[in-house]
Symmetry: C2
Subunit: 260 residues, 2 copies
C-alpha cells in the first residue's frame, strides 16, 4: 500500500452503513499495524478529511463538504443541468424524480436530483449515490454511449445470469442507441419506471444521462410522448449549456494565461 491509495483505502471504509471507525477497527480491516494507522489518521484529521467523533471513533471530515460545494459551482455537468431538473419535474405529466448521472469507476453516480414534492415512493437515485451499471434507464443512457471495446472492459466484472442474458443486454443496448432513449421497468426500484436520454460533450469528456423516474401506479400510456418530448428537449438544452460553460472556461483560461 503506497501513495494516495494508503489514504483512499481508509476513506473507502466509511459508508452510509458504517460511518465511524476506531483506529483498531481500521487496523484490523486493512491488516496494518495500529501505529501506522494512528499516524495516517492523524495526518488526515489535521487536513480535515477525517475528524474524531465520540469514544475514540473517527468519521469523515468537513473537507468533503467544502470540495463538494466547489464542484457544485464549477462542474459543467452539474452547473448546466441542475437548474433544469425542477423545470423538467414541473413539466412532466405526473410526479417524478429527475436525475443527472455519470460514470464513476464501474458504477453510475447521480450528480444532481430533483424530486417532485408530492412524489410518494422511495427511490434509490439521490445525489452522490452509486448505482449499478447494467440496471435502470439512467445507467443505460450512459453506457449506450460507450463503444464496444471499452464497454466490454467496463462490464467485465458484472455477473450476468448467463451468456444469453449478457447478449440480450447488449442487443437491447444497441437498439436503445439507435432510438436515442431508454426505458426500463422496476430494474432498480420495484414499482418504478425510468426514462432516460444521453448527455454528452466530447471536448469535456462528459458521458452522462438525464432521466425521469415515475411511479408505475400513476403512469398511463398517454403520458409517454410528453415524457419523451420533455427529456429530449431538456437533454438538448443541458448539452447546449454545457457547451456555453465550456466556452466560458476556455475564455477564462485564455485571459488568465495572457495576463502572465
Amino acid at each position: 500500500m503506497s501513495g494516495f491509495l494508503r489514504y483512499k483505502k481508509i476513506l473507502d471504509l466509511f459508508s452510509e452503513e458504517r460511518s465511524s471507525w476506531t483506529v483498531l477497527e481500521i487496523s484490523k480491516a486493512l491488516e496494518t499495524p495500529s501505529s501506522t494507522i494512528y499516524r495516517i489518521i492523524r495526518e488526515m484529521v489535521s487536513a480535515e478529511f477525517l475528524e474524531s467523533a465520540a469514544g475514540s471513533y473517527f468519521r469523515l471530515g468537513p473537507a468533503f463538504i467544502k470540495f463538494n460545494r466547489i464542484i457544485n459551482f464549477s462542474d459543467p455537468l452539474v452547473r448546466a443541468g441542475q437548474p433544469f431538473l425542477k423545470k423538467l419535474a414541473d413539466e412532466n405529466p405526473i410526479t417524478s424524480v429527475n436525475v443527472l448521472a455519470r460514470l464513476y469507476g464501474n458504477k453510475v453516480m447521480c450528480v444532481a436530483d430533483y424530486k417532485s414534492p408530492s412524489f410518494k415512493k422511495n427511490t434509490s437515485y439521490q445525489r452522490g449515490k452509486l448505482m449499478p451499471l447494467i440496471y435502470g434507464a439512467t445507467s443505460r443512457a450512459i453506457i449506450m454511449q460507450i463503444t464496444n471495446r471499452k464497454l466490454q472492459d467496463l462490464i467485465y466484472l458484472e455477473n450476468f445470469k448467463s451468456d444469453e442474458d449478457k447478449n440480450n443486454f447488449l442487443k437491447d443496448l444497441k437498439n436503445d442507441r439507435k432510438k436515442g432513449y431508454c426505458f426500463t421497468e422496476g430494474q432498480v426500484d420495484k414499482g418504478l419506471i425510468g426514462f432516460a436520454v444521453s448527455i454528452s460533450n466530447k471536448k469535456l469528456g462528459i458521458k452522462a444521462s438525464l432521466s425521469s423516474i415515475f411511479d408505475l401506479d400513476e403512469f398511463l400510456l398517454e403520458h409517454e410522448p410528453i415524457i419523451y418530448a420533455n427529456l429530449a428537449s431538456y437533454g438538448l438544452l443541458v448539452e447546449k449549456y454545457i457547451n456555453e460553460i465550456f466556452e466560458d472556461i476556455q475564455k477564462y483560461h485564455h485571459e488568465t494565461n495572457s495576463i502572465r
Copy 2:
C-alpha cells in the same frame, strides 16, 4: 512536502474562482517539478479525487460528491439539524436564510442551509462555504463557546484594526455568552442582519450554531421576540436530536462489537 499534505496542497488549489488547473500550472504554483506532479495527479485521478477536463486541464473528481453524501446521511449535526431548517424558516415572521454552521480550521463553515423561496437578497451563507471567524452572528454563536485560552489561539491570525477593536470584540463576546444568543448587523453581507444561538454536544465534540438571517428592509422590532423564541426552541430541539443520534450510534457500535 510529504504524506497527505502532498495531496492536500494540490486539492487546495481548486476553488470556486479557479476550478481547473493544468499540470504545469500546479507545478509552478507549488514549485515542484512537473514530472512529480504528473505522477501525483495520475494517482489522484485513478482514485477519482481529480478528473481530467478539456484541454489538459484537471478538476475536482466525483469522489467528493460521494463522500459528501455519506456525511449528509451520517454526520450527527447535519442529520439532526437539516430537517428543522425549513420549519424554522416557515415559522419566522419574515423571509429568512437559516443556517447550521461549525468550525472548520480557523474559519466557520456552513454545513446546512435553507432559504425561504421568496427571500430576495443574496447571502454568503451557503452549504460548504467558509466564513470569517469574527464576523456575523453565525460565527459568534460558535466561538462564544470556546474558552479564553483556545480562543486566543484561534483568533491569533485575525487582523483586528486595533487592540481596542479586539478588546471590544472579546467584551461583546462575553456579553453574548451570558445572554445565550447573538445579533449582528451587516457584518458579513450589507443590508442583512443575523441572529444565532449555540448548538453543542460535549460527547460528540460538536461546537456549532443555528442562525436566521433577515433582510434589514423587512425587519421590524416587533419580530425580535418571535425570532429569538424560534431560535431558542429549535436550538434545543436540534441538540436533543443530536443526543438521540449519539445514543443510536453508541447502541450500534455496542451491537457490532458484541457480534464479534
